[in-house]
Subunit: 145 residues, 2 copies
DNA sequence: CATTGACATGAAGTTAGGTTTAGGTGTTAC
DNA sequence: GTAACACCTAAACCTAACTTCATGTCAATG
């Protein structure tokens, strides 16, 4: 059993955030001893799932729904499975987009290295994309597709 | 040359967003014909960079700074190069985190598939992580590291 | 020549996800 | 017995990035 301060340290989250999550119903049935929250292993696992679902782009109110399903029991296994499958697909799509962003950034790094070497962008701006070095062209193509 | 409506279609962005970006100084020196914005290839490339930098987590005010550097000329190449290198490092770190999130989601998908087959979570909750199937254990380990 | 549709403006409104503030309780240390 | 801490609440506040609103201009169409 942990206090809110200990959990705050463990997860590197402000105490105010943990209280906010609790107020939003993200720790249904959390125990209290004379008003003070007692975080058990159940709440720590909830917090791991909260961070994961948040990172997947899920809103707090929908995370609350998930936590309610957990309380409801075995009848909601299909809902919970479907939720994770949807989030998985969304994050996979997000990874593809982020890879494009990364390729654009890498291209721009090369672009400015070259501009610095040349002293200007003239040669670069007159160069057709198919005359970039092969690996740079791949970055450019992925970033612009 | 394109109107704001055409650019809105091309980039799938609301017109209000394009006007907001202009107001924030993200299209320095955009041309106007009797009050109406004329988007040239320069503004389209700016927009591509805006989307890329935004996705990398950069704030509008810092994107504005970048656009100001572009106007300033060759003396700011080092600043611009450094900006892209920093964003690149940030996005690479983000990709690692997102992969962990994805592994957690995949683990949870397996977890609920198994719970549905078992009809309950009892066996799962008593199972030590090192008794999960090998590929599941890898997901679990990466997600919890 | 009036209506439609695309453009323009400044100012106010919206939203999510917290954070801060003001005031209070309870336990341990000196 | 008082000072320092860690905890508590409700309510107000904050921020970024848009979005909506009220109002107006202008060109082409029926």
């Amino acid at each position: 059993m942990y206090t809110i301060g200990q959990v705050s340290e463990m997860f590197n989250l402000p105490i105010s955030t943990l209280r906010y999550y609790d107020k939003e119903g993200l720790f249904p049935g959390i125990e209290r001893q004379s008003g003070i929250r007692k975080f058990s292993e159940r709440e720590l696992e909830a917090l791991r799932v909260i961070e994961c679902l948040k990172k997947s782009g899920l809103e707090i109110k929908d995370i609350k729904q998930f936590m309610a399903w957990c309380v409801e029991g075995a009848s909601t296994y299909p809902n919970r499975k479907k939720l994770f499958e949807t989030r998985k697909a969304i994050v996979e799509a997000e990874m593809v987009k982020l890879q494009k962003t990364l390729d654009m950034l890498k291209f721009k790094c090369w672009y400015y290295e070259t501009a610095i070497r040349d002293g200007n962008e003239e040669r670069l701006n007159e160069m057709a994309p198919d005359r970039f070095p092969k690996e740079i062209q791949e970055l450019y193509d992925n970033a612009h597709s």
